[in-house]
Symmetry: C3
Amino acid sequence: MKNLISMRDVNTQDILKLIDLAEKIETKKCKPDMSGKLAALLFFEPSTRTHFSFETAVKKLGGNSFSMSGTGSTSVKKGETLSDTLMTISMYADIIVMRHVIEGSARFASEIVNIPVINAGDGTNQHPSQAMLDLYSIKKTQNTLSNLTVGMVGDLRLGRTVHSLAQALSDFNPTFYFASPKHLQMPKYIKDDLDERNIKYEEIEDIKEVMSELDIMYVTRIQKERFAVLEDYEKVKDSYIITKKLLEGVKSNFKVLHPLPRVNEITKEVDDTEFAYYFQQARNGVFMRQAIITEILKLKY
Amino acid sequence: MKNLISMRDVNTQDILKLIDLAEKIETKKCKPDMSGKLAALLFFEPSTRTHFSFETAVKKLGGNSFSMSGTGSTSVKKGETLSDTLMTISMYADIIVMRHVIEGSARFASEIVNIPVINAGDGTNQHPSQAMLDLYSIKKTQNTLSNLTVGMVGDLRLGRTVHSLAQALSDFNPTFYFASPKHLQMPKYIKDDLDERNIKYEEIEDIKEVMSELDIMYVTRIQKERFAVLEDYEKVKDSYIITKKLLEGVKSNFKVLHPLPRVNEITKEVDDTEFAYYFQQARNGVFMRQAIITEILKLKY
Amino acid sequence: MKNLISMRDVNTQDILKLIDLAEKIETKKCKPDMSGKLAALLFFEPSTRTHFSFETAVKKLGGNSFSMSGTGSTSVKKGETLSDTLMTISMYADIIVMRHVIEGSARFASEIVNIPVINAGDGTNQHPSQAMLDLYSIKKTQNTLSNLTVGMVGDLRLGRTVHSLAQALSDFNPTFYFASPKHLQMPKYIKDDLDERNIKYEEIEDIKEVMSELDIMYVTRIQKERFAVLEDYEKVKDSYIITKKLLEGVKSNFKVLHPLPRVNEITKEVDDTEFAYYFQQARNGVFMRQAIITEILKLKY
């Protein structure tokens, strides 16, 4: 692994290796050393959460970082090309972590500079470190990645998180339930991919009917503004709000994941149940990002 | 001390302990070690001065920090609740330093997260680390906190600094003079509190008459915009501007304090006198904040 | 050297000493130690590139920094004077790096505070660390600073970079060619200065005729908006765009420098030639800034 641009570049062995490394870092069985190295955290599209998570990972590794948030005060404003900005920054830093609204921008960056690039989100396309921390969270709670029944709920059309996760889990013989409003269903290219690999999946409208089968429920936000007609939103929104009542009768190993931020799609009362795992999931992100940086920079540990 | 939310939670013993610790840190008699720990500096309401002071304190302790300034690029914009933002950040950091415009927000934060919270200002309510650095500055210049005569000048109604300081000094048998325009006097709840504890205080309109009695004069800014009628402001403003001439005949131990920033309420010529202490006061803030963090995180030293 | 405000304060011996130190730092022959020290990076006028370069330098030295970018969230907004802001910050930090749009502001700062100040650009006036890294880049590529033939191209009237560089090189017996549109020629005070010191220079309109003589070509951006009449710009712009074709027949030691960001004044194809040196020049900036900070803070190495 020279870069981390897309989950499509990461094979099963890489996944298992990163999960193993994250686990060792979390349990302090190893302590990779990034001292003397500098990460450039380039958030052309601002994102406090992912930004803080990477910054925390870098600092826990003993490294340093400098940050850009938005493009307001940058050379971009003076007419500089993205390519020149990246080239210059690669003269200062040892690794680039980059979020940009344009799909493919991280791949583009990795082809220009001579230092490694981690894609921290390129538009609606990929966000591989999120997929990796999701996998790590599943592994930690289920003790395995294999043969799990996973429900995905909410906006499955535009959420890059669920796309990456569905693809990544496909190597581990999953059964999927995709619960979403009709016009926010999983995209065809993802389903074609699953078909080709003989993965069992079902598209449903109401997650309620399969709750007792699930090991993992992955919830995403349904954005009101995606609906042309408000009435359509009003009709479906209640099927996609996770309440404490909905969780009655689930399996004992069952967990709710969410990439956060949430708005109202999981009610506050769920937080206090043993099934809520989204905040720990955020914490897992720090360990996984430490593992990814360690692997890519080939840090000693 | 698990958190530092309000001076009302801090007893005399805590105050003396923190002052002692700040002194030891300043004189290098001890060197607390924050390495490996991370402070989240959450300035929902931006404040360069307090932000830099805490950031300096963290770094002088050998710790790391990450910062939020304003809410422009945060998940708050995506509709996340303050509670979720804080929960997530508590997954990354070891301590939260927080400024927020809403009164009570720091208390609220401390009840939600499992890591310590330092209130760096919640609206017009509390700013306890400022009160602590004020006490440290008084102790350093007077060699004691006890039996001092303290003049407070300017806007005493809305300045959270003077409220906290008046309450904190009450344990040390002070004599107060409160000099302010009529409609910017010390609030009744503060005066009731002083009455109950038999503290001597007097409300005056002109500080001039008591200058020779004072050990400490604490100056705050009178904001023109607080006056409904401009003529009222014009009438009083000159009584509340500290000039070099006003300082003639003060005691030799006398010092002028000010929380900064100032606008014109202390003239520039005062800076060069032996009585000006406001910039050293700012420096004292770093030592006191190191002490507070050390105490709350129970750092080794 | 207590501060670095202007190249006019730096003598030949200082220049050679800094270049020597930068070289030692780059080749790891010495490792200055800034641990425990704090730099305040005050970019009242934002500048990602210079900001990152200084931040990288500080962190590579093992020091810490805190940053201000713009004045939006500062005490400046509350009516504080620049003098008070600087005084307060000098209570927290060990050195100030400052960019401000007002000419003379860095000198002003150095006269107010008791800690060293590095000028990172004061309006169109001075940017001495840029001049120093330019000299370092020339030395590295030419193995000497002496007896070189240097072409300066583009907007020579308003580019502070070329002014500082022309003055700094004057101690080393250069030959200059100044290629610019008529109304963007080198200012008279610079030329008077060169005349007084018997430096050979020629003002030309087309750099093409002297290409084969040059050791160094220093390119700056011509800003369209400087032209009152668009036709005037259209007439000259092509003479000041550096193409691969223009570089045919240059000397083997020839290099193109540019302070960056560029817009279109050097074509992309030039990047891949052996003559392009602008990105390495940016990297040299980190080593030179490490040297400057080391010298000014008198760091051990």
